[in-house]
Amino acid sequence: MVITPVHYIVAPLIAAFAIPLLIKIHKDAARIVPGIVLFYNVIVSLFLMNHIAEHGMISETLAGWQAPWGINLVVTPFTGFLATMVSILGFIIWLYGYRFKRTLKGGEVKYYEILQMMMIAGSIGIIITGDIFNMFVFIEIVGISAFSLTAFYRSRDGAEAGFKYLLIGGFASAFLLLGILIIYTQTGTLNMAQIAERMPDVPQQMKIVALIFFLVALGIEAEMFPLNGWAPDAYSQAPSPTSATFAAVVSVAGVYALIRVVFTMFDVEGVNNYLMVMGFVTMLIAEIAAISQKDLKRMLAYSSVGQVGLVLIAFGIGSNLAVFGALFLMLNHGVIKSLLFMAGSYFIYNTDDKKIKSLNGIYKKLPIVSFFFALGALAIIGFPPFSGFWSKFYILISAADEKYVFLIIGILLVTIIELTYYLRVVGRIYFAKQEGEPASHKPSINALVAMSSLALFIIVIGVYPDLIMPHIQSAADALLDKSNYIQQILSIKN
């Protein structure tokens, strides 16, 4: 194998350490190098996906120590699918932000690019690592970058949102450490596969206490109610490419960590129902909060939290079809929400106002961006010819299969709520009258390429969902086949 999973982490690290030097050679290095690295990660993803389709899952050993003893990186169809999705979206977000950052002053670009790149690399690390403490380290990498990026703009609210996020993140890491400690004393190992293997021998009381610590810690990362108070502030105060990254990359990694710990490591009865109920409450509260928002980015942020709730509901149902729907929704949400944040950011950029009411008639100023925003809004509500329809459809079917009537009613109700607040915005964009001078900031060509590739994905997958469905299906199978995961990783012992 020429390319191994560790390249995902090593390439960004080399770039991050080298950028302070490279910037002395060429002042644009700080902006271009991350793009090269993120593109390289896309190549790594495609190569690895190809490899596991032929040869089965990869468990790479690090420092030469086989799986339970050393740290290992695991690429199964499930983790590979998420890592591919994250790296492609990461690259597209970089492409979108490439010219955007010209508006920042010289010294800051370096910091911004390093933090943004490491946030994406850390998210991939969370997804591919097979070791629970290593996951903690990656969560901290993502966390530190995310706190700094939230406070990146000099506006006062940025620092406040960043501090709030940091405080809640501090709780998360404290609880995660406590959970890891309890698990370590009971199993004597830190490898997730071996923990899962030894979990049946752990006393029930220990198991539940540890699970609660993990749920609290990772629930914060995955934006689960009632631990998601940081999310709307962080999303709305961060620079727009970072908001898109929060929605498309960081929340995916958070949900992954939660699912990996709950589904693979623990075998506690009833935790599925807990996930379902918490997802339901998260979704309902977030969507209701979204209606009353006056600020565009805050509204999108609450909508993101709501979508994460729906993902958790689907994972909570736990049938193969539901997990399939959940993964499909994670993909769709990443793509569509990135598009919405990208388009929304141009509105804000042009009106200098984050308020929804300032969007009146902006269609005339920015026709293409408005079109993309409308497309994204329709797709996320779940209108039929777009990709968002299919994920919601499969989740509804799986809920119907398991006869969870209240879930079906809830999801349909939430769809109506989403319809209300998204169409309100789209209506303002297209139909409200507003006189004004022509747009001062036209979208740059790279931003248009980024947005249209996302839009293309939404339409193509909406019409031909079969293009992507086999991959998602194998990812769902890989997640649910826990014994295979354990066996494959632990079989190579020296």
Binding site: A16, Y111, N134, Q205
Partner: protein, 248 residues
């Protein structure tokens, strides 16, 4: 009042849960098991560290080799914290100059910087530097290592920064050292990947237990970690000390 009640309830629950949970995990019990047929990672590490890696300090072996990837991540956490700090406290140059003109006082720590203190700092600084370097070079033999040595060196720089108002870090050298140490760490890892097929893998040659030159690449990595941590911490302190207050 209600908030206070909720907080106390929360804290009480947490304390009670921890107390109950840990009371059934006794301190001092041997959870490692036998070293000959290791069931736990701890037993495996205690067995392999002196015999395979020839590293006397098992913690160094764990931190640098068995779980070296964590250490790489940890070094990058520090690096990102320094970057984030710089980005959060970054001020545009014009703004800074303007303020500089308004008042020439920089609110560095106003500790006494008499000539006595300065001479003391001058004498202590090389000693602290030497101690730090000693700690991370002997990281595989005695307690201590890259983090400890790096932190000690950073306190040495702190001493200089505080006692000499004019003392400026040579930023160029710092940036170079920091980047090269980081790249060196990754480079040693890549050497393992290319030569032996596993990232961060140690060389086959490991020397004798308790020799200064032993443990293969482990001392080298710890030296890189030491330099990196020292420069990063100095960086953090330097940024914080250079804040110009806008107090009235």
């Amino acid at each position: 009042m209600l908030k206070k009640l909720i907080v106390f309830l929360l804290i009480g629950t947490l304390g009670y849960t921890l107390a109950v949970t840990f009371s059934s995990i006794p301190i001092g019990a041997n959870r490692i098991g036998s070293l000959d047929n290791p069931e736990t990672v701890a037993a495996y590490y205690l067995d392999k560290s002196p015999n395979d890696l020839k590293v006397a300090n098992t913690i160094t072996a764990v931190v640098v080799n068995f779980r070296g990837f964590d250490t790489l991540g940890e070094v990058s956490v520090l690096f990102l914290a320094a970057t984030g700090l710089a980005s959060i406290l970054y001020r545009k140059e014009e703004e800074e100059e303007e303020e500089e003109n308004k008042r020439h006082i920089s609110h560095r720590l106003n500790l006494p910087s008499s000539s006595l203190v300065q001479t003391g700092a001058k004498i202590l600084f090389p000693l602290i530097l030497l101690l730090g370097i000693y700690v991370f070079i002997h990281g595989h033999l005695t307690p201590g290592g890259g983090f400890q040595g790096g932190a000690i060196i950073a306190t040495g720089f702190l001493l200089m920064l505080v006692s000499y108002k004019g003392f400026k870090n040579n930023h160029k050298i710092m940036v170079w050292l920091e980047s090269l140490a980081g790249l060196g760490f990754v480079g040693v890892g890549l050497y393992g990947l290319i030569r032996y097929g596993s990232f961060l893998q140690n060389t086959g040659w490991t020397g004798n237990l308790n020799d200064l030159v032993s443990g293969g690449l482990i001392p080298l990595i710890y030296i890189f970690v030491g330099i990196k941590v020292a420069t990063e911490l100095t960086n953090v302190l330097d940024i914080l000390l250079n804040i110009k207050s806008r107090r009235k």
